[in-house]
């Protein structure tokens, strides 16, 4: 365990089908749980923003009856604020209505206040006031391909947003449109899916239309990203110009999760599921797999995980923290959340018997 100031603690926000729970810990071993917050609403997206000298938890919440909205808390969930006019709302001329917020992504440390969101219907949004108000990204909304983007089983959404530290490269992944890249900070967009298979399409190598489940950037190598596809695990080293398979060595190439290390080159985690007919961990044996060499090899990590687990792990139901060593967290659709304080080598249980977990986000925060 690395040095940790006593003024720091850990928070894991758990978004489920029926509300939000918050787990806090001084040491990533013993966890205290609060909740449910937003009982009877689903929480499919969470962003924890530790910039600007405060901890702001932003959540996308959605009631079946009363619709979607974004709320935030600056006191670790003791109180929540919802902007009166709503943080995200489609402009009148679009004729569209927000269905669900799939992603809340605080931008780089150097751009405090900038927060991105991905939503359903497929759209990307940007806030410059810490997530209180977002503007629709018109470049992507008006893209000529939009009418051809399909809907994954969970909905038609921009579910992954990755921005490089310089702020000029923005990558978005959507179901089922694939990866789109902007080289001008989000003004214009081009599909970048060369090498990613869409075996379910008439042309298995289309320009776009791939079902990319999650993308994540290598924090230490500019232009390197990883993708977990609907069958297929990939890496690009040239800013998504070309993707190559890194699935060899995994028990299955299906899954939803793709996590990368907050600092170390070549380190990423996936949670393989057998598919398409069996969307469970292979043989019911849940394991996280980590690569330390950018996908050349994978290590199976299941210490502390149950002998049998038949629930899947959704794309945003996993997270890393920024501590040293990094913590790894994930939750299942069976409502169990696991934490590792040693980069996945051993897991302990944070919570169990919750509603199905849609989203997990972890952070190191000041104070308890």
């Amino acid at each position: 365990m690395g040095f940790m100031s006593p003024a720091e603690s850990f928070v894991v926000a758990i978004g489920t089908k029926k509300g939000l729970w918050l787990a806090t810990s001084p040491d990533r071993q013993d966890w205290s749980l609060s909740g449910p917050h937003f009982l009877m609403t689903e929480v499919p997206s969470i962003g924890i923003d530790t910039r600007d000298g405060r901890t702001r938890i932003m959540v996308g919440v959605r009631s079946e009856h009363w619709g979607p909205t974004v709320a935030h808390s600056d006191d670790l969930g003791a109180s929540w604020t919802e902007p009166e006019q709503g943080a995200i709302g489609f402009p009148e001329d679009t004729g569209a209505a927000l269905e669900r917020i799939w992603q809340i992504y605080p931008d780089a440390e150097s751009r405090p206040g900038v927060v991105w969101a991905g939503a359903e219907p497929i759209s990307v949004w940007k806030s410059t006031d810490g997530g209180e108000h977002f503007e629709l990204n018109r470049g992507l909304w008006d893209h000529p391909h939009r009418s051809e983007w399909g809907a994954g089983f969970g909905g038609a959404a921009a579910h992954s947003i990755v921005v490089n530290p310089a702020g000029d490269n923005v990558h978005v992944a959507m179901s089922t449109g694939g990866v789109y890249r902007s080289l001008d900070g989000g003004t214009s967009w081009e599909p970048r899916n060369k090498g990613i298979s869409a075996y379910f399409m008439p042309d298995p190598n289309p320009e776009f239309g791939q079902c990319v489940h999650k993308i994540a950037a290598d924090a230490a190598v500019e232009g390197r990203l990883y993708a977990q596809n609907h069958h297929g695990v990939y890496r690009t080293d040239d800013n998504a110009e070309n993707w190559e398979s890194i699935a060899e060595g995994l028990p299955a190439d299906f899954g939803f999760v793709m996590l990368t290390h907050p600092r170390r080159e070549g380190t990423a985690w996936v949670v393989p599921l057998k598919a398409d007919g069996e969307r469970i961990p292979p043989d019911g044996k849940l394991a996280v797999h980590r690569t330390d060499d950018a996908g050349a090899s994978w290590k199976r990590l299941d210490s502390g995980l149950p002998e049998n687990e038949y629930n899947s792990v959704l794309r945003d139901a996993a997270s890393v923290d920024s501590a040293e060593p990094a913590g790894v967290y994930f939750g299942t659709r069976g409502g169990t959340v696991y934490a590792s304080a040693d980069e996945g080598e051993t897991f302990t249980e944070v919570a169990s018997h919750l509603p199905d977990v849609l989203c997990v986000r972890a952070a190191v925060v000041a104070g308890a």
Binding site: H65, G67, G86, A96
Partner: protein, 106 residues
């Protein structure tokens, strides 16, 4: 001062909108919101009127296109407005409008 129907304003009857308990905190705790009506108004205009000071409540009932959310039901004289003229259904002065969420979900 007189309203368009010729009645003094203090005699203009109200239209009442009855909220379910779960939404009342978004209306300052009020179970019923009222709007003065000097003649029939549409449900859409009535909602505009009574939620004007409560934008979060407004967004719970209708999305940003103005459409009624799928599982929000509004009853005028015992009939759900989707079986009438939807948000264009007219409500007469003195009538009561009920907002009720669908019995749904698992």
């Amino acid at each position: 001062m007189f309203c368009a129907c010729g009645q003094p304003w203090w005699q203009v009857p109200d239209i009442s909108v009855v909220l379910p308990s779960v939404l009342q905190p978004l209306a300052g705790g009020q179970p019923v919101l009222t709007a003065p009506a000097d003649g029939p108004v549409t449900v859409a205009k009535l909602l505009d009127s009574v939620t004007g000071n409560y934008p979060v409540l407004a967004r719970r009932l209708r999305d940003e296109t103005g459409a009624l959310r799928r599982y929000v039901n509004i009853y005028v004289n015992g009939d759900e407005v989707r079986r009438l003229q939807g948000l264009e259904t007219e409500v007469a002065a003195g009538q009561e409008v009920l907002v009720i969420q669908s019995v749904a979900g698992g």
